[in-house]
């Protein structure tokens, strides 16, 4: 017992008190900012391995971006990654950052289904389904509940069964082989429920977008309540996204 207490003391306080305003340091890459500097835009778009950079005007789609940083290394005068990790949104188009933009990315309150804040604002149990995920987003979702991030303090937890869940968090590009189990798990969750895509693979297919081994047709049938960018998504991005979606300000 004494030794256990010693260990507790040696490890000290671990939880991050304010997850909303925690600070991450560079080179962590969060929300990008695109300057209005003029340059060879075709070359800029060509750098991106995932086709996440659009032109006229220059935009960067965080739903396709792996935050690899290549564009910022090639064109530092044009693209810069801030350490702002609050980049989740409920609107797909809000993940696209335009040149000159420097505003924060937030969940759009007006388009949240009213029952979400009413029912899930104090407790939210989620079922996680990895559908071709590479185990990095899964690990970060697991880390949300650890001693540092302690998502449990908000009543947000992962459940063992979809029957006990209020929603689903999908990781991975949705492999053909997982398409059916994913659908079954989704149908097993009682209404009302939320649907969340976590990580670049889940949001857009990522590097697997053009693979014949994936099947994303399920996404045409559901309404996505939250997009959480990242490769993998950082626990702070995940938790803040879920809080923005379900909590009143």
């Amino acid at each position: 017992m004494i030794e256990e207490i010693k260990i507790l003391i040696h490890n000290g306080r671990q939880y991050i008190p304010d997850l909303r305003n925690a600070k991450l340091k560079s080179p962590f890459r969060g929300r990008p900012e695109i300057s209005t500097a003029k340059l060879d835009e075709q070359a800029l778009a060509a750098v991106c391995p995932l086709g996440a950079i659009y032109l006229n005007p220059v935009r960067l789609d965080m739903g396709k971006c792996a935050f690899c940083g290549e564009c910022a290394f090639a064109f530092p005068e044009k693209i810069k990654f801030t350490t702002d990790f609050r980049i989740s949104s409920n609107k797909r188009e809000d993940l696209i950052v335009k040149e000159g933009d420097s505003h924060e990315i937030r969940v759009d309150e007006s388009s949240i289904r009213p029952e979400i804040k009413k029912i899930f604002s104090k407790s939210l149990k989620l079922r996680q389904v990895s559908a071709g995920g590479d185990n990095s987003c899964e690990t970060e979702l697991g880390a949300c509940g650890n001693a540092n991030f302690d998502m449990g303090r908000f009543g947000i937890e992962f459940t063992a069964s979809p029957r006990h869940a209020d929603g689903i968090v999908v990781t991975g590009p949705i492999s053909e082989n997982m398409a059916e189990p994913l659908q079954i798990a989704w149908e097993a969750i009682p209404e009302p429920k939320i649907f969340v895509l976590c990580g670049v693979d889940a949001i857009s297919g990522g590097i697997f977008a053009d693979s014949p081994a994936i099947n994303r047709s399920f996404l045409e049938k559901v309404h996505v309540d939250l997009f959480i960018p990242g490769n993998p998504s950082h626990p702070l991005t995940i938790i803040n996204g879920l809080l923005d979606l379900t909590r009143s300000k």
Partner: protein
């Protein structure tokens, strides 16, 4: 068949395809069996690829004593019967490779004990074989029952299906059916440009970013005939050891969860966080994505990072030793770990297990020692084994390996002067040697990772083959559960922590 005139290459090297002698299947089988009967040899990769309409087979056998890799090959012509005598009855460890070739190309392996699907790849030969009708073993008896679990599991983990055949509480047999995670990784390598390939390698298994990406980089750099600076070679090895430490620590924490020891679960989680947060401060990503790039890196290891790391390690080590010592001595933990999921030395050899899954049963198999990359030649790593091959052995070994990685890193920090100006930027515009075969092996935290690549006459990639150590080791997990209870499965599974996506590709 003489095995001494066989082509032998070193790890991280390439050869002209014309140097690979094509044997008759008879000679090939004889050579394979003769090689693999020796304890110092094991098969690191065995695959087939289309050569026009024919099928060429390549087998790479690593020799741990001579530190080289034998390459043998044979050709199955289009017009010939697509059936070969299976080598599995003689060399059991080949079972998974033959199954894979069978699934991909429809080649029948006569007398293979279970020629079952491996991963239901999208381009499998038999499109009628679907993931919902996997041919599970079943024993007809009123006394027995079967329990199916998955593909989706209770935890936040990847999908796989486990089928237990039980007599009361007793598990007679466990069969693991994988493939749910299949994303078509290997053929994608052929379609992409080099930067995309680099990203793809990082996404093979997100818990082995460094292991797979380093192996990929070495394969491609070898084919391009370039070498990265000494500094970058050390950076990559450092990142690999940090990855090992982080995952092993997390694994020990996960074992504590299953032994209902919450203090351990939390503290090991905290310690793992310290390591991955360091990796984030180095390259911006907690898993090391974007750190390893072809030809160089954007994230040199600086003096400042070195000072941070030494401090973090000092703190980590103190807390880790304190916590793991207590865990080790706790009767309730010992009771949960001891004699659970035992694999004997003989079984481990038979199965051809690699990495930690081999070393836990006294089988010395470690690429850092037997086929070391430059960093491990300059700063040798001494590998170790555990004895009993059970959950306790896997726990002990992870604990020992963490300590040894710390010592290795400290030695590196002390004797190598990192100079960020020595780091080169990545190079994606590579000219690969035409008609070449390259092979690279890396000892990731799970065990050896093997990547093979072949180019055509224009220097374009024509085949890319990945082997995650889990390919060898899943069978070991199956066997280890015999005569345990289903309730022993979670702790046993976590002690192995094998990769689903690395296997399913």
């Amino acid at each position: 068949m003489q095995t001494d005139n066989i082509l032998r290459i070193k790890n991280n090297s390439s050869v002209d395809l014309s140097e690979i002698i094509i044997l008759s299947y008879e000679a090939f089988s004889e050579a394979a069996i003769q090689l693999l009967k020796e304890e110092q040899n094991h098969c690191v990769s065995y695959f087939a690829y289309r050569k026009e309409n024919d099928l060429q087979f390549l087998m790479a056998v690593a020799d741990d004593n001579h530190h080289d890799i034998a390459i043998i090959s044979h050709l199955l012509k289009d017009g010939e019967t697509q059936a070969l005598e299976s080598l599995t009855p003689a060399i059991f460890a080949l079972h998974i490779f033959e199954r894979e070739i069978h699934e991909n190309f429809g080649v029948d392996f006569i007398n293979h004990p279970w020629l079952k699907p491996v991963r239901f790849s999208h381009d499998r030969f038999n499109q009628n074989s679907t993931i919902n009708n996997y041919p599970f073993y079943s024993i007809k008896s009123h006394e027995l029952h079967e329990v199916g679990v998955g593909p989706i599991h209770a935890g936040v983990i990847e999908p796989g299906h486990f089928r237990f055949t039980c007599n009361g509480e007793n598990v007679l047999h466990l069969e693991i059916q994988l493939g749910w995670q299949h994303r078509g990784v290997e053929p994608l390598f052929l379609k992409k440009n080099n930067l995309q390939r680099n990203l793809l390698a990082e996404n093979i298994a997100g818990d082995t970013v460094i292991g797979h990406t380093w192996t990929f980089a070495q394969t491609m750099e070898t084919l391009a005939g370039i070498t990265v600076t000494e500094q970058t070679q050390m950076e990559r090895a450092l990142a690999l050891e940090l990855e090992r430490m982080a995952i092993h620590t997390g694994d020990i924490g996960a074992l504590c969860v299953d032994a209902a020891y919450h203090l351990g679960a939390q503290v090991f989680g905290i310690l793992r966080t310290a390591i991955i947060n360091f990796t984030q401060s180095w390259c911006g990503n907690r898993f090391g994505k974007s750190l390893i790039r072809l030809g160089g890196t954007y994230f040199p290891f600086t003096e400042e990072l070195k000072q941070d790391l030494l401090q973090i390690l000092a703190r980590y080590e103190k807390q880790f030793l304190e916590m793991s010592h207590l865990t080790y001595r706790l009767p309730s933990v010992q009771n949960r770990f001891d004699f659970v999921g035992n694999i004997t030395t003989q079984q481990a050899r038979l199965l051809g297990t690699v990495g930690l899954s081999a070393r836990m049963s006294q089988v010395v198999r470690d690429i850092r020692v037997s086929h070391p990359a430059y960093a491990y030649q300059r700063f040798p790593y001494e590998t170790m084994v555990a004895e009993k091959g059970d959950v306790f052995a896997r726990f002990l070994l992870k604990r020992k390996e963490i300590k040894r990685s710390i010592a290795w890193i400290r030695n590196l920090m002390e004797h190598f002067s990192f100079d960020a100006s020595q780091t080169k930027k990545p190079v994606y515009n590579l000219r690969l040697k035409p008609n070449h075969f390259a092979l690279s092996l890396t000892e990731g935290w799970r065990g050896e990772i093997c990547h093979c690549a072949l180019t055509d006459q224009n220097g374009a990639l024509k085949h890319y083959k990945i082997k995650d150590p889990s390919m060898h080791n899943w069978k070991s997990l199956e066997l280890s559960l015999r005569n345990l209870e289903i309730s022993d499965f979670p702790i046993n599974n976590k002690s192995y922590n094998l990769s689903y996506c690395g296997h399913d590709l």
